[in-house]
């Protein structure tokens, strides 16, 4: 790298940022670590440790340490599961769609989005384990020839879920990793003497001997395109199957044909919001104003606006049809959600997902305004999942069994711990990998990506 810059005058991009500055800016978080980083890691670790203690406590004593009861057999854990799997739709799907449609503005933000997918997929399915009554036997759902002489039940939506999510996780990791190879090679070459021996070896292994030959580039482009095409149907299937866990039962307000697409739209909606919020924080903390620009917030904000309207349309359809059919059990659930005990939640959800984002996103979409809209959407979408789970389960068909559900401190601690875990993973990722794809950014700015590794 240094050779090429000394031999020739520094390359300057259209935006007026020199090649050296790009490498410097984008690699700074990897080679420099400040006190703020360790503080954040420490705080996150505390929350995670407490959540892990809570989980241990729950395994030791039983699921009874939660607020679950005979009707609310599911609660916060399932809410979190659906929420995080929803968030996972952010990255990969958005980045795949933008890649396939060749929207060039996507380039600096794809990686920040894709790693959200991977981390959310590490956290969401974790809740499936946490909610299991006998987690030590979780491997019984894995289809492999076993001494029990029994296959898992392939008719169960939970098994579809297990299959889907695992495929999606593997696909997402691959899809995150592939475009990172040239950057890993760049770190290997540019930061050789600023890193310790362990990390140097790490990048040497991970960059898979990348030399930047034109054959390597064409292979990379092809595999990325193939992965993008595979990821999109996978992402849609994942959240459809998550919705089927609810929709395939007979329960009032769950058994709905619209649930599949409704969940997919909700997932992408909350996913975009997560990406926007993460981008805002990264941009602010890592001083990447020159790379993550207002145009990204503007475009993603527009996407968020569209999905807000779509979500509104789906919610309206979802509630209006049972309202007209007016079946007793469905009306009990709906009344419970809209005017009963959960009314404050319902109307907060509606406000957070429709009027607030609309007000903020119509007109000039500044980074601050889109970030506020995103946070509102995230809150609203979490409540939506809560209403779906708790709203139905607290109102079973036989009215004798109606019972309230109050989450316990164990569930709340683990919920908070999951958010800390997400931030923790994100921080660690930023320490090891460039959060803005260096070569893609250069391509975007008219700099030949090949210059990056000579």
């Amino acid at each position: 790298m240094s050779e090429s810059t000394t031999a020739r005058p520094a390359l300057v991009t259209r935006a007026g940022i020199s090649n050296d500055r790009i490498i410097g800016d984008l690699l700074r978080p990897i080679v420099e670590t400040g006190a703020a980083f360790w503080t954040a890691i420490g705080v996150c670790s505390l929350f995670m440790a407490w959540a892990m203690f809570c989980w241990g406590y729950q395994i030791y004593y039983g699921i009874g340490v939660t607020g679950y009861n005979r009707t609310s057999m599911w609660g916060l854990y399932e809410v979190n599961f659906v929420f995080w799997v929803g968030i996972s739709h952010a990255g990969t799907l958005i980045s795949a769609i933008l890649r396939v449609t060749d929207a060039s503005w996507r380039r600096p933000i794809t990686r920040a989005a894709e790693c959200i997918t991977v981390f959310a997929l590490m956290i969401g399915p974790m809740f499936v384990l946490i909610h299991l009554g006998r987690v030590w036997d979780f491997y019984w759902v894995v289809p492999y020839p076993n001494s029990r002489g029994l296959w898992p039940n392939f008719r169960s939506p939970l098994l579809w879920d297990f299959t889907c999510i695992n495929s999606y996780l593997l696909g997402s990791i691959t899809y995150l990793y592939l475009p990172m190879i040239p950057d890993l090679a760049a770190i290997r070459d540019a930061a050789e003497n600023r890193l310790g021996p362990v990390r140097r070896k790490l990048y040497r292994i991970l960059s898979l001997g990348w030399q930047g030959t034109s054959r390597q580039w064409s292979l990379l482009e092809r595999s990325i395109t193939i992965m993008a095409a595979i990821i999109m149907p996978l992402a849609v299937s994942v959240h459809t199957v998550v919705s089927w866990i609810f929709a395939m039962t007979l329960q009032p307000m769950w058994n709905s044909t619209i649930f599949g697409p409704y969940f997919v739209v909700g997932a992408i909606f909350s996913g975009i919001a997560a990406v926007l919020a993460a981008l805002y924080v990264i941009r602010w903390v890592l001083h990447l104003e020159a790379y993550i620009e207002p145009v990204h917030f503007d475009n993603l904000g527009l996407l968020l606006l569209v999905f807000s309207l779509l979500w509104g349309y789906f919610t309206f359809s979802e509630y209006l049809t049972p309202w007209y059919a007016h079946q007793t059990a469905e009306m009990a659930v709906m009344h419970h959600r809209m005017f009963g005990y959960y009314a404050p939640f319902f109307w907060t959800m509606l406000a957070c997902c429709l009027p607030i984002p609309l007000a903020l996103l119509v007109g000039r979409r500044t980074p601050a305004k889109t970030c506020m809209a995103s946070l509102s959407v995230l809150v609203g979408m979490w409540i939506e999942r809560f209403l779906i789970v708790a709203g139905t389960l607290t109102r079973p068909r036989l009215t004798f069994n109606w019972h309230a559900y109050h989450p316990s401190w164990v569930e709340v601690s683990i919920t908070v711990g999951a958010f800390a875990y997400f931030i923790f993973l994100y921080l660690v990722f930023i320490k090891f990998f460039p959060i803005v794809a260096i070569w893609e950014y250069k391509v975007d700015r008219g700099l030949a990506a090949q210059e990056n590794v000579s």
Binding site: W74, G133, L250
Partner: protein
């Protein structure tokens, strides 16, 4: 062979002897006051009590509810590990030791018939000395529900395997039917048109719980329903 049950609601007085008998037969633990308040009452059979009419003209209605042993059971296809499945004689089987506790079956059940082991429960002395050896004691994290006293059914079938005897109608009785003082509960083979349960199930009073859902329960309730005037009668009387 299709095991089924009729419950004559006109005979039921809500004494809950069936509930106690079930508890003793099937090693169903008591969860204590605190958990009961949290809605975690553990029982395979419960007597639901509904009030009809306005004060002071109120009537208490009792309805014993247990697993309805549906022919089209919503709980069966959703279990990822086959802990619940349909046996050849129509029973909705629950294999306790195979359950990993996803609780999906309980959420799929429209009758709230399933109970979960939130903790490892203890039996206060001397109850710990009277556990039924025919029925496994469940540990924390497992789902359980009414089995139609499958241990008694299988016991009778094993006895009949010598070829000299057969399982006759009335030979098998679940604990609830056996202990019902007003003989409201009748158990038998619904495929045998001469069995008592089968004959009762064709009564004009017969209905099934939430039968519009199409779950085809094998528990049949008997109670005349006057669809036209029941509402008026309630308020007039």
């Amino acid at each position: 062979m299709r095991w089924g049950m009729t419950i004559d609601l006109d005979r039921c007085n809500g004494c809950e002897a069936c509930v106690v008998a079930c508890r003793a037969e099937n090693n169903v633990p008591t969860v204590g006051e605190e958990d009961c308040e949290k809605g975690r009452m553990m029982s395979w059979m419960r007597v639901e009590r509904y009030w009809e009419g306005e004060f002071p003209d109120v009537k208490a209605r009792f309805m014993p509810v247990l697993c309805q042993q549906c022919d089209e059971a919503p709980c069966e296809p959703v279990c990822p590990v086959y802990a619940t499945y349909h046996s050849s004689d129509g029973l909705n089987i629950q294999v306790h030791n195979r359950c990993i506790g996803t609780r999906f079956c309980a959420n799929a059940c429209p009758y709230t018939a399933r109970a979960f082991n939130w903790f490892d429960y203890k039996w206060d002395a001397p109850l710990d000395q009277q556990l039924n050896p025919e029925v496994s004691v469940r540990s924390r994290g497992m789902m359980e529900k009414c089995t139609f006293c499958v241990q008694r059914i299988r016991g009778a079938q094993i006895k009949a395997e010598d070829g000299k005897t057969t399982v006759k109608d009335g030979d098998v009785q679940p604990a609830c039917a056996q202990s019902c003082p007003s003989e409201a509960i009748v158990f038998g083979d619904l495929d045998d048109p001469t069995s008592r349960a089968s004959r009762m199930s064709t009564s004009g009073r017969a209905f099934r719980l939430l039968e519009d859902l199409g779950t085809k329960p094998k528990v049949i309730y008997l109670k005349p329903v006057d669809w036209n005037t029941s509402q008026e009668k309630e308020s007039a009387s």
